[in-house]
């Protein structure tokens, strides 16, 4: 029952916000985000106690004879993803409080609508509903970028984004339908069974269909071209939603649908996908090195990080998947922090050209310090959450192939290069005419950054609860138990 509530709650809040109008929208949105977090924590507690009353599962036939059902359940992996939504969503909402949006009730309503769709994808145990939520999440973010985004050509950018993602996810639909034809039901357990019974070549095609869909959303080279321009055009809160939570639907989809459904396909052809991930990592890192604008740098660095994330998951072993799940949370939080830094700089300087900055540390040491912790998290320094995630991912990759771990390790090395270069350009050196008037952080800005920093350090120092949460589920995936 709670599994259904956790999906409906954001949708309910979205409806409330639409109806309540502009004045109450912020408060309600925040309340929605916080209650999502609280509900997730409650679910985790129940899960730890073994869920004697079956509170974390919900099942109701929708179109019974066709094997479609409203089927939601929270297992270890789903709970980690819920925790991601629960932590990141309130942060994103709170971080947007320094902006005055036109029609805030529509804006926040769409945000929660999107959160509901993503939570649905994380929670459902029905293949068709995964697809439905996956696709539905596109509509709110499309309007968020189209209406509140910036830039002259954002209409074109959003269209490219929408069509690209739709085009990708339709391959998933074909693959899903193909497996469904043999399973006769969209229940995940049945899909796994039917998928595993297919021949190697069939599994490879199904894997290809899913991988194309997810590779667009993650994004993985060469299907990434929509990402930098979309991140750039979106309002900051929208970018945070995209990078913080939305792309995790795809990486989660790899864990939830691909690995258990087509193990032979992944074993036979996973190396191709891993190769693309590796290219993606190197390519995005090199692109990030050459960016002049901070926001684009973060966009490309995000491609590099999630490339490693996808590679770790596809290496299909306990460390890789565990690291992937942990890295999703870590990357989500860091994304919020990094783009919030963009927001702070943009609101003061009116641009984000790194060459024109410098010396901000002298003017505003606190900001420079907090930003530095985020940079450290991003380059995976020990005691930050980034370290735990990427270290596990690299161990996982190492078990798969030593060559790949070298390429994967490049993310960390190159990441250090471009992040530290950015930090140096922006924060160090003498203050110039642009930056000397850099005003101190407001209380709101301090709160957001400190919260992010505390989470990054906290999860880095004590990651065990999250890893324990997902461990049994990951073992089940690897053993093919469902």
């Amino acid at each position: 029952m709670l599994a259904l509530v956790i999906v409906l709650l954001p949708l309910l809040f979205a409806g409330l916000i639409f109806l309540a109008g502009a004045n109450l929208s912020r408060t309600l949105a925040m309340a929605g985000g916080i209650s999502q977090l609280i509900l997730t924590l409650v679910c985790i507690v129940i899960f730890k106690q073994g869920d004697p009353n079956q509170l974390l599962a919900f099942k109701q036939d929708w179109i019974g004879p066709l094997g479609m059902s409203y089927n939601f359940s929270l297992d270890g992996t789903s709970l980690v993803m819920s925790l991601l939504t629960g932590l990141v969503l309130p942060l994103i909402i709170y971080s947007s409080f320094n902006k005055a949006f036109k029609n805030p009730h529509i804006f926040y309503g769409l945000m929660l609508l999107m959160a509901g769709a993503m939570q649905g994808a994380f929670t459902t145990s029905d293949g068709l509903f995964f697809y439905i939520f996956y696709e539905f999440a596109l509509i709110p973010i499309y309007f968020i970028i189209l209406i509140w985004g910036s830039g002259e050509n954002r209409a074109k950018v959003t269209m490219k984004f929408f069509l690209y993602t739709l085009f990708g996810s339709l391959f998933m639909l074909i693959a899903l339908l193909y497996v469904y034809q043999q399973a006769g039901s969209f229940k995940l357990a049945r899909l796994y069974e039917a998928g595993q019974a297919m021949s190697g070549i069939e599994q490879a095609w199904v894997f290809a269909g899913f991988f194309i869909a997810f590779a667009v959303k993650i994004p993985i080279f060469p299907l990434h071209t929509w990402q930098p321009s979309t991140y750039d055009a979106a309002p900051t809160a929208g970018t945070m939603m995209l990078g913080g939570i939305m792309l995790k639907m795809a990486t989660f989809g790899l864990i939830r649908l691909v690995l258990p459904m087509v193990p032979v396909g992944v074993a036979d052809y996973g190396s191709w996908a891993l190769g693309l991930c590796a290219i993606s990592v190197v390519y995005a890192s090199l692109m990030a090195l050459n960016q002049k604008r901070y926001k684009l740098l973060i966009a490309y660095s995000s491609i590099a990080h999630v490339g490693l994330l996808a590679a770790g998951i596809l290496s299909n072993n306990a460390q890789g998947i565990q690291g992937g799940l942990f890295e999703m949370i870590s990357h989500g939080i860091l994304t919020v922090g990094m783009f919030f830094v963009f927001d702070i700089i943009e609101s003061r300087l009116g641009h984000d050209d790194m060459k024109k900055m410098g010396g901000i540390r002298d003017v505003n040491p606190l900001f420079a310090f907090l930003f530095f912790v985020l940079v450290m998290g991003s380059v995976a320094l020990p005691i930050t959450s980034g370290f735990v995630g990427e270290f596990l991912l690299l161990i996982g990759l190492n078990q798969y192939s030593t060559a790949l771990v070298v390429v994967g390790g490049l993310t960390v090395v190159l990441g250090a290069v471009y992040m530290l270069r950015a930090f140096q350009l922006m924060m160090l050196g003498p203050a110039n005419g642009n930056t000397s008037g850099f005003s101190p952080l407001t209380t709101h800005e301090k709160t957001v950054l400190i919260l992010v920093v505390v989470l990054v350090l906290g999860l880095g120092i004590y990651p065990a609860p999250i890893l324990e949460l997902s461990e049994p589920a990951v073992q089940n995936i690897l053993l093919g138990i469902f």
């Binding site: 929708w62 596109l138 209406i147």
Partner: protein, 461 residues
């Protein structure tokens, strides 16, 4: 039978009301009449009434006929409400209402016949008022062209259909679809006469539903006709034609579908590719919607192609989902265009979200529904057809269907983008509160039907 009586008497009543100078009652009478049809469909459910059974009976109101009639009446009802104020200063209102109702009557016959002569009569009763209606904007040269073109090609198609029916009579010796079915089963695929007859009937229908390569009349006619008439043609006429087609091809002439399955699949693919790619190049929003309507005919043809295993209720669900969305789109386009002195470009939609947020919202939902994005009813509609076609083994057609949906999304997004792009000094667009209620109702229906698809399993006919 009550349904046909109500529809035809309603048409006469409308004409009489005009003569008796009771013009303001025309609209309420029509609405009440249509509600009457809806109620009688529900009351008759499951009775399998055969009117004039003692004289052989040429109609059968089984649940198939009743559910199609129900959908026809519901769409017509929405049409009456949504287009009402476009007639405010048009003296032709009475004529148009009466012709629409007669046309609806033809549609009901087309979905309830058991004798192919009645099928032909139904098509003619449906079409002849439409030829007049297409040309009803008398001073507009495009409308005249539309009427002429529609009449010319429509009669051509009817003639082909009639020729086909004659050949079928030659092969089987009967006009009754049950007897034809028996004879056809005995003859199997061996009778050339029957096959050629079936092919001609198929081509006749393909003209009516505008499946490529028989679609060439549709863009010109849809663009030239007054928008309210286009809305009617794109919804009610398609519903009736697909209903009539399913009724004969799933039973009596099934051997044709079986033998020429690949050919029909190719026509589907051709329709989808042609319509969607040509639509992307359209500047004129009405023409764009016309091509979109043709592409949907390609999808529904997939249902006809699989009619041996594809229950008619799923086809009807597609038709309903498509019709609701299409009607909303045309009705809103009509208002938007009328407000800007008849501008028909996609730019006419610019800033609609400022002018009237409700209409922009309803239009967005309608377009997403037509594109098949969940959670709109269009997704389930397309899902049923795609999954059936896949079961039939046509993976290539499924891929065409899915890719053409992406192409379709492109041109629907063009309209959505226009609606949400800001413009200077946008005037408000005021609509009556009844219309507001109906737009909200339509928007809700388009989403609710997605979940309501579950009821399809409950309905038995």
């Amino acid at each position: 039978m009550k349904e046909i009586l109500i529809a035809s008497l309603l048409g006469i009543a409308v004409l009489a009301a005009d003569i008796l100078k009771l013009r303001k009652f025309i609209f309420p009478i029509s609405i009440i009449g249509l509600l009457g049809i809806i109620v009688s469909c529900i009351v008759d459910w499951g009775h399998n009434e055969i009117p004039f059974a003692e004289n052989g009976g040429m109609l059968l109101f089984d649940n198939f006929a009743l559910s199609f009639t129900l959908v026809l009446a519901v769409i017509a009802l929405f049409w009456f409400v949504l287009t009402r104020d476009s007639f405010s200063n048009n003296s032709g209102q009475t004529d148009i209402y009466a012709l629409i109702l007669f046309s609806l009557c033809g549609g009901v016959i087309m979905v309830s016949y058991t004798n192919v002569i009645l099928l032909f009569l139904g098509i003619e009763i449906l079409s002849i008022p439409l030829y007049v209606l297409a040309a009803s904007d008398r001073k507009n040269i495009l409308s005249n062209e539309a009427g002429f073109k529609y009449f010319f090609l429509g009669s051509f198609a009817s003639a082909i259909l009639l020729f086909g029916l004659a050949l079928i009579y030659g092969a089987t010796g009967s006009f009754d679809i049950n007897i034809i079915a028996d004879k056809a089963a005995q003859l199997g695929g061996t009778s050339t006469l029957l096959m050629v007859g079936s092919l001609l009937v198929f081509i006749g229908f393909a003209f009516k539903v505008s499946v490529a390569p028989f679609h060439l009349w549709a863009p010109d006619v849809y663009q030239g006709s007054p928008t309210v008439i286009t809305a009617f043609m794109a919804t009610v006429v398609k519903t009736a034609a697909f209903g009539g087609m399913y009724r004969i091809f799933s039973g009596s002439l099934y051997s044709f579908i079986e033998d020429y399955n690949l050919l029909i699949a190719m026509l589907c693919g051709l329709t989808l590719i042609l319509a969607n790619f040509i639509a992307t190049r359209q500047q004129n929003a009405k023409r764009l919607l016309a091509y979109s309507s043709i592409s949907h005919a390609g999808f529904m043809m997939g249902g006809i192609m699989m009619c041996g295993t594809f229950p008619a209720k799923y086809l009807l669900f597609y038709i309903l989902a498509y019709s609701l969305a299409s009607l909303t789109a045309f009705a809103i386009f009509q208002k938007v265009s009328a407000m800007q002195n008849g501008l028909e470009d996609t730019d006419a939609f610019k800033g609609l979200v400022r002018r009237n947020p409700l209409m922009a919202g309803a239009m967005t939902i309608a377009l997403f529904s037509m594109a098949g994005i969940p959670p709109m009813s269009g997704f389930m509609a397309k899902y049923f057809i795609i999954s059936e076609v896949l079961k039939g083994g046509y993976l290539w057609l499924v891929i065409i269907m899915i890719l053409s949906s992406v192409v379709a999304m492109y041109y629907y997004l063009k309209i959505i983008m226009a609606m949400f792009s800001p413009i200077e000094n946008a005037g408000r667009m005021v609509i009556s509160s009844t219309q507001k209620v109906f737009y909200i109702l339509l928007a809700t229906l388009m989403i609710a039907l997605f979940f309501g698809a579950a009821f399809l399993e409950v309905i038995v006919w």
